[in-house]
Structures are given as structure tokens and as C-alpha cells.
């Protein structure tokens, strides 16, 4: 067992885990944040995407001990109180989710994508950069719309971080 400590959504957390514990299992089982999901065993589906020190990673491809000392943001850490993150709001507005299972990973990927491109996105780029996230419900149509809309809103100076 190893004590793994990190900042998750701005809060300092710590837990003793086996060395082989994946970051996603640490978040879900040791810390109790179940918003991050596990959809596959091969890092293909993207349901487990979180931000590690500001960059999108698949939490099933990263050991908890590797993330020790880092800052992690999960889907639970996006909204500011009752105020949804623009990407969360856009997914709802454009019906970019159905069963909701892939949604946390989709949203975390989208936030990272928009951040990296400074909000300057077109449909082809969004579709290409979603290659690491699988959805079986929505046909992606509304997810792409939601991301483009959120990107355009986040491009406005008032919404800039």
C-alpha cells in the first residue's frame, strides 16, 4: 500500500492504495467521486477523461501514484456552485447527451480541446479531436454542435479564463 495525495477539484485528498491502482479507481473508489466513468479496458472510449495538471488524460491509463502531488479536475469540479461551466451548459442546451455515461469524459475532452484551441474550432477539428471518446447514443451530431457553441461563447473576452 502507498499513500497517494493530490489536489482534486481544489481539495487536498489522500488515501492508501495498492501500487497498481489506476487513477480512475482512486477517484471513484478511494475518493468517492463517481462522475468519472470506466467504459473500456483499453483506453479507447474516453469515459474516464479528467484533467491532470490542466491537461486531458485518460484516468484509466494513469496510475494513482503517478498522479500523486498533482492537481486533478474531474467533471464534479467544473461548475462553480450552481453556475454550470459553458461546456456543461452547451451539452444540455444542444441535447449532447442521452444516457449520460460517456458525458463526463466528453465534457472534459471538450473543455481541454477548447482551451488548447483558444475557442477557435471548426466542425472538422472537433470531430477529429473527439477520436478518443466513444458515444453510442447521440451519433455525435449534437455533441459536435454543443462543443462548437461552447467554444464560440468561451472565445468571447468576458468568458475568458
Amino acid at each position: 500500500m502507498t499513500t497517494v495525495s493530490m489536489t482534486v477539484n481544489g481539495r487536498q485528498v489522500s488515501a492508501d492504495v495498492e501500487d497498481r491502482t489506476l487513477l480512475v479507481d482512486y477517484l471513484r473508489n478511494a475518493i468517492g467521486l463517481t462522475g468519472t466513468h470506466v467504459g473500456c479496458d483499453t483506453s479507447q472510449c474516453g469515459a474516464c477523461v479528467v484533467h491532470l495538471d490542466g491537461r486531458a488524460v485518460k484516468a484509466c491509463t494513469c496510475l494513482a501514484v503517478q498522479a500523486s502531488g498533482s492537481s486533478v479536475t474531474t467533471v464534479e469540479g467544473l461548475a462553480k456552485g450552481d453556475e454550470l461551466h459553458p461546456v456543461q451548459a452547451a451539452f444540455r442546451e444542444h441535447h449532447g447527451l442521452q444516457c449520460g455515461f460517456c458525458t463526463p469524459g466528453m465534457i472534459m475532452t471538450a473543455v481541454d480541446m477548447i482551451n488548447r484551441h483558444g475557442g477557435n474550432l471548426d466542425e472538422a477539428t472537433v470531430r477529429h479531436e473527439l477520436e478518443g471518446n466513444i458515444c453510442r447514443c447521440t451519433g455525435y451530431h449534437n455533441i459536435v454542435k454543443a462543443i462548437l457553441d461552447a467554444a464560440s461563447k468561451m472565445r468571447m473576452p468576458a468568458a475568458a479564463e
Binding site: 495498492e18 497498481r20 471513484r28 473508489n29 468517492g32 467521486l33 463517481t34 462522475g35 468519472t36 466513468h37 470506466v38 467504459g39 473500456c40 479496458d41 483499453t42 479507447q44 472510449c45 469515459a47 474531474t74 467533471v75 464534479e76 467544473l78 461548475a79 454550470l84 456543461q88 451539452f91 444540455r92 442546451e93 441535447h95 447527451l97 442521452q98 444516457c99 449520460g100 455515461f101 460517456c102 458525458t103 463526463p104 465534457i107 466542425e123 472537433v126 470531430r127 477529429h128 473527439l130 477520436e131 471518446n133 466513444i134 458515444c135 453510442r136 447514443c137 447521440t138 451519433g139 455525435y140 451530431h141 449534437n142 455533441i143 459536435v144
Partner: protein, 784 residues
Amino acid sequence: MGMEGIGQRVVRKEDKRFITGKGKYTDDVKLQGMTHAHFVRSPHAHARIRSIDTAAAAAMPGVVAVLTGAELVGDRIGNLICGWMIHSKDGSPMKMGAYPAMAPETVRYVGQAVAVVVAETKNQARDAAEAVVVDYEELPAVTTVLDAIKEGAPQLHPEAPGNRVYEWSLGDKAATDAAFAGAAQVVSMDILNNRLVPNPMEPRSAVANYDAGDDQLTLWTTSQNPHVARLVLSAFYNIAPEHKLRVIAPDVGGGFGSKIYIYPEEIVCLWASRKANRPIKWTSDRTEAFLTDAHGRDHITKAEMAFDANHKILGLRVHTYANFGAYMSLFSSSVPTYLYATLLSGQYVIPAIYAEVDGVYTNTVPVDAYRGAGRPEATYVLERMMETAARQFGVDPAELRRKNFITSFPYQTPVIMTYDAGDYNASLDAALKAIDYAGFPARKAEAKARGKLRGIGLSCYIEACGIAPSKAVGSLGAGVGLWESAEVRVNPVGTVEVLTGSHSHGQGHETTFAQLVSERLGIGIDQVAIVHGDTDKVQFGMGTYGSRSGAVGMSAILKAMEKVETKAKKIAAHLMEAAEGDIVIEGGEFKVAGTDKKMPFALVALAAYTGHNLPDGMEPGLKEGAFYDPTNFTFPAGTYVCEAEIDPDTGKTTVVNFVAADDFGRMINPMIVEGQVHGGLAQGIGQALLEGTVYTDDGQLMTASYMDYAMPRADDLPSFDLHHTTTLCPGNPLGIKGCGEAGAIGSPPAVINAITDALGVRDIAMPATPARVWNAIHGRMAAE
């Protein structure tokens, strides 16, 4: 109509918890003292179990129990059932081998469970499962239907000689033979429908908890119909009497049919929880999902269509071999029979149809209903035939279809179904206009100038939804009637709880069902809670599949609403000293027509519960229940057009435009309807271009992860162009037809018709991967 009533594009109530990570899925359940299960699964497609040595595993750290199939049988846990009896042509009932939840003696597919390890942690269970030693005697295996019915093929079940489950037929053979004898032209094709893996993004999961104090079992499970699960677990598997078993299907991450069934893992976890006296969680990993979730499709069909000299269809003859895998799953028997052959008339007047279906066992994962279930297979056969016929005759594919459309309703097909309403010309017209059908030759020429091959393909689909009239399905062999229940509970403060037997796993019931209440009572949808998915809360229900939640589930709610309104009007009339017939409900208020007398709905509700001033003889309270049994299936239909471009250098197909024109009857929330179509189209295009399930000859599943099974991704798909035409369904009070599977049903033939058009070939097998297309272009199809 209010802002949140019927027909409005209301954003979903349930989204808030999903987008903030607060959804509650089965794997999120955590109980005090919870243990974890890991299954020991067969690495062989067909083998006899000589012995299982569990001693080493049982001694490993954290292990609570190691249980085998022999112990399961010893405890008289029942075999899995198939719930729809099909009789062969000769009148004999279908022939089935026993399907134990864990194999005690013989395994028949790779991945079949033979033992389970229960341990304190998931990793401990997984480690210990590695230490379970199973001594197998390998047997020869067979994976395809045509091999399985050959003389001398490996035999799966002694009860099913020749691996044949049934040899069933539907329609009039003599009339069909006569139609072919008099035909001017005949079109013949061999048509394959590739096996798909459902792949809901949430893997199946079960949490079983035995409470020894109350002798009560609780199961949280990824189910589309928790009540049916409880009924079957109680009545057939000897798990617990119904009143001692609670089944909860909380947020469920997609089902698409694959979560209708009761699977071995749920049975084993419940049994093991009682045995170990501990809560147990099992969650499938993705490879387990590939190896154990019921697969879909897998048909081989020989089809022939007879036409007269004017290109009018005279008859259709179909012989289909359906691969059932190693065991008969819960609904599997009905899929290639009553859900498939009954739709073989399509949108067309076909005077004579004769369909033969042979159900066959193979050493593969059981096959059952998946996203359309039989309807995609029927549509694929018909729409490939129509397109091929048009090309064979040298006529326009749209015009050939138009010439044969059913135009008068109700219409009795030769294969049981009575279509109630439709306008197939309207959806064809809308689709052709949207795609600019007339402009296609110019676009093809332009693509050719760029060195690309462009093709266009049509598909005019029909499906039967709103499953189903209980008497009808009962007469056809179904084990249960398929009505739906609802209860509307008005609280004293005027908020409303609706308890429904439907189950939402992405369909947005918490919003659409609330929209119905909002429409009727004029209260906001936030004043309405939809309660579902828990057998302790809702008395009974049949769950969600086959687009039945709107047509059947909402009709039950409407019936209960009407009872509530009738009583509430009596109360309002009494309170306002008016005649009951003069009371109208408008904008959340009860008004006396022709006067300015009114009172808010909430005050009427309060009066019902305070009970001081009710009409004489009236019971207090405002809560009503209803059961609704439909009189007929519903028949959504539409036209899909795919325009595809192929790069001859790589064989890659790009869908450049996809138009869908659907008739779903009344839409409660068009935004949600369109979302469901998008998802179905992604599945259908995925089946046509990407998704294929590959077994080796000895039964190893080669496509058992997302590394090997090509799921459609955002980059594989276009944005879709959706249109609607509307004929209301006369069979239910809301006029709803259903939309859930349409995209998956209608799109595969449209895509393949576009590809064969682009390539100028008669056929190409699904999935039309770049390799297959490249080979078709470069004349090496034979090498496949």
C-alpha cells in the same frame, strides 16, 4: 399548449445530474461490507469440464467464497429461460438445451462462466480467479449457421439434433410459388446481415445484497425492465419469492436491447450474496461485455422477388438462417420470426410472401434482440432487393418504390401485420427534395473529375413499435402480455409524482413524461417527478424496448391522468358550487366555463387531502392508477437517402450527406426524437461501414475490445439532415408511433445501396470496410 407541453423542444430535466457527474449508475453503488465478484470464464468455445480445483484460490488473501456451476445446480438455481415459444412448420415446439447460469459440465462459448470468486476487493477477486484450475476436455466447435447444419457438424445440445432450434415459416407457400410461376422477372440475392455487439457505454453491472435480518434480497442492476427481471428471477430461477426481492435499475448507461435480458451474472451474484451473507458487486469489463452481452443480427438469407412486366411486385420468397449462438436468450426466439418476417412486406404491396426461418445453435455468444431486433434485418433484405431490382430493370430506384407503395390504410399484409396509417410518398418526396436527388448526376460527375466515386442509395423502411398488444403477442407464443402501467400521485401541495413501469436509459422520460403532465394540468415540469426503475416504488411494469415507452407507457399515464382530472373536476365543482361539466382546466387553474370563477390546481389538490369539504361519499386523496394495453403495434416509417463518396486509392467511404425523412406520428419533444434518430443512424452507418464481429473457426472472438471492433467515432460520421412528415397513429390516444430504432433500421441499406451504386457492383458485404471496397474496385473480391 404551454411552453413545456407536448411538442416543445424542452431541455432535459435529467441532464443536470449527468453533466455534473452526479448520475447514479449501478457501479456507483457502494454498500457497507461490500465484496467483489470476478468470474472464471471458459477459454474454449466447446469443452467438457473434467474438474475444477478451487482450493488454491479459496486460500488466497481476501477471498470470501469460490463457487462453481455444480454448486449452483446443487442449490437448485434454475436454468435461464427463453420467453417466447416458437413452433416449427411441423408443429413441434422449439428444441432447446439447458442454459445454466454457470456451466456445470460443458461450456459452449468462449467467455461462458464456470465459477465465481468473491473477495474483499476487486483485485483480490481477480487474482484469485487466476488460481482456479479448470481441467477441460476440448471438443470440436462450430461458429457459422451453414457449418452448424452440415452433416457431421459438432453438436451443441442433445435436445437439438443437427443444431436446429426450429424450422419455422410464415405466409402462403402455394400463393407465393404461383406468383413466381407467373412472374415476368425475378430478382435473387444472397444477403448477409453481420453480427453486431451492442456496446452500451456503461458495461453491465450488478450489486446484490442479502439482508439476513429481513430475509430480503436487493439487486441493483443495469436493466431495461426491472420488474420483468424480478418476475423471472422469482418465478423461474428460484432466487427468492417476489416479495422478498427488490430490483432497482438506477441510471442505466444505454441498453439498446442488450439490457432487456436477465444474465447469468445477476443470478449468480444474488445466489452468492445469500450464500456468503455479504453484499456483492460485479461490473463487467469491456472484453467481458464483448464475450457475454447478447449479440445482435447474424442472418444469412436467400431472397427472391417476383415482378410483373410493369415492375409491380408479385411475390417475395425468403429463406433465412439465424445464428442463435450457444444458448437461447430471453427474447431470442422471437427476433428472426415475429419481429422479422412480419415486416417483410415493407412499405410495399406484396400480394404473396413466404418466409422460412431456421434457427441454429453455434459455439458463439447468445444472440438476442438488439436495436431494432428483426426489423433492421427485414428492411435490409427488402431494400437491397428493391435497389437491385431497379438496377436490374434499368429504372429509377425511387420510382420503382413509388410504384409499389401501399397507399391505402388500414392495410393487411400477408404476414400478420395490419398497418394503421402512413404516407410513404410524403416521406419519399421530402427525402428526395432534401438531398436534391435531381442534382445527383452533376455531383457524381464533379466527384469523378476529382477522381472520386460517388453513389446514392435509398431505403424506405417500416418498423413495428409500441410493443405490444398482449392478446396478439400471446397468441404468437410470447410468455407475457406487453401492456404498461402508470400511477399519478398528486401531492397535497399540487406537485405530481408519476410512477411508470417504463424504464429510461437515455430516452429522457423524466422530461417527456413530465411534458404530458404539464400539458394536461398546466403546471411546470419542475413540479412533476417521474419515478421509475424500482420494484419497491412502482408496482409493476414491462420496461422499455421496441419504442414502447411513448406509445404504451405514456398512454397508460394519460389514462391515469384522465382519472385524476375527473376526480379533481368533481372536487373543484363542489368547491366552486358549479356543475361538474362546466369545469375546465386551463393554465394550471380550474375554471367554471362562462364565469370568472376559478381556483388554482394546487388548492384543489390540497382540498383532496385535507378532506374537510369533499363531495358526499368521495374518498379523500388524489391518486389514480391505470394499465394500458395497446390494440395494435405502431408503424413508424420513412425514407433515408445516403450520398457517399469513395476514394478508389484507399477504398475509404465517406458519407457526404445523409437525409432522413421520418414519420413518427406525434412527437412529444422533437429535440429528443431527433437525438434518438442521430444515434440510430450512427449505429446503422456503423454496421454498414465499420462494425463486424469476427470469430475464428474454432470459436475465439477476434473482435473482443475497442482495439479490434470498430465503433463509429465522430470522425466517421457526417452531420445528419433530418426531416419529418406526420400521420398520427390511430392506435393510441396520443398518436405516437415511436422513434428509438428507426435510424438503425433504415440506414444500413441506404449506405450499402450508395456504395454499390458508386462502385457499379451488385453487392458488397457489410461492413464495407476500406479493404473490401478496395478489393471490389480492383477486382479481387474473390480473394475474400
